[in-house]
């Protein structure tokens, strides 16, 4: 799980360092890097064991850099800095792996891959577009850990059936309770999506 217990000393220290960073304390940034680089890359290696080491390190560095450049983008009300960094790093790793996968594809296959129309099933019409749009901005509110993030990605890619969701969630596809558990997680994400959409609508109105 990405969520750190409230009394975790590293999470507490990161919270203090974030406040110090916002106040312009000169050494806070270096300490944040020092405190997070190794645990974050270790976390990515555990959650994505098949990822290449270079990609893991790049994703970790990108996540820390994104925070250092724009610390105001992290909202402590929404979760811990650790969770924030984990979500960004996981997202970045997915992007790196996706682009590396694309590079490996034969050139004549790329346009076919891109032209495949998405058939909205899990997320319909407006929801489908909205999910893509708000994913980047409200990601931490919707997907709160690595598994949920991967489930959301599958939903956005209109993946049907339970087998891929089961793999991501670490469930046994043969287990009769798996379909129910997958549906429960997907429903939970849809409910959070709806909550965010309502919040956005309320702001617009």
């Amino acid at each position: 799980m990405l969520r750190t217990p409230p009394n975790n000393p590293v999470a507490t220290r990161l919270g203090e360092l974030h406040q110090a960073n916002l106040a312009g304390e000169p050494t806070a940034t270096a300490e944040i890097f020092s405190l997070t680089f190794r645990p974050l890359s270790r976390h990515l290696k555990i959650t994505r064991p098949d990822a290449h080491d270079d990609q893991v390190n790049d994703a970790t560095t990108d996540a820390i850099l994104a925070y250092l450049r724009k610390p105001g983008a992290f909202d402590p009300q929404k979760g811990s800095l650790w969770t924030f960094l984990c979500v960004i790093a996981a997202r970045r790793l997915s992007d790196l792996r996706r682009s590396a996968g694309r590079e490996r594809l034969p050139v004549n296959l790329i346009p076919i891959f891109e032209l495949q129309p998405l058939r909205p099933n899990n997320l319909k019409g407006e929801d489908h577009l909205l999910a893509h749009e708000i994913e980047a901005r409200y990601l931490t509110e919707i997907a709160r850990d690595e598994k949920e993030l991967q489930v959301l990605e599958l939903m956005c890619s209109d993946v049907r059936g339970t087998s891929q969701y089961a793999v991501v969630l670490g469930l046994d596809s043969a287990d009769p309770g798996t379909a129910h558990e997958v549906k429960r997680v997907k429903d939970k994400l849809k409910a959070r999506l709806k909550k965010v959409r309502n919040a956005i609508n309320a702001k617009i109105i």
């Binding site: 960073n21 000169p26 050494t27 940034t29 270096a30 020092s34 680089f37 190794r38 850099l65 250092l68």
Partner: protein, 124 residues
């Protein structure tokens, strides 16, 4: 801090340094300014520290003007460099930056210079 990192950590640290060198909020952005004044000596040499230690210094924020010396002391004590050397390095780079950002001098009337020269010659 600074921590002894493995090679992956060192590579990441160098990358962060280089990415932040264009960001005026970080000490990393002072390196090109320093080099514009003292091209023969890099920051690590000027601060009498290793390249790794310089990288840690570089990813620190620039000292705040409201507590300039205090912030320099903090960076120096966290990284183990000499505070006076660090202060000299930062002040030199900031001065170079101020000169670079200064508006150009308005073009003066060349006859003024000639008049001043004549005045000097008459005085002698």
């Amino acid at each position: 801090m600074p921590k002894s990192f493995d090679s992956a950590g060192k590579v990441a640290l160098l990358r962060v340094c280089s990415e932040l060198s264009g960001n005026p909020e970080f000490i990393a952005s002072l390196e090109p300014l320093w080099r514009s004044v003292v091209p023969s000596k890099g920051p690590a040499e000027a601060l009498n520290c290793s390249q790794d230690v310089w990288s840690w210094i570089a990813i620190c924020r620039r000292p705040r003007s409201s507590c300039f010396l205090e912030d320099i002391e903090k960076v120096a004590s966290a990284t183990g460099v000499n505070a006076n050397k660090l202060q000299r390095f930062i002040v030199t780079a900031l001065t170079a930056e101020r000169f670079q950002n200064a508006p150009p001098e308005p073009a003066g009337d060349p006859t003024e210079l000639l008049a001043a020269r004549r005045y000097d010659e008459e005085e002698e």
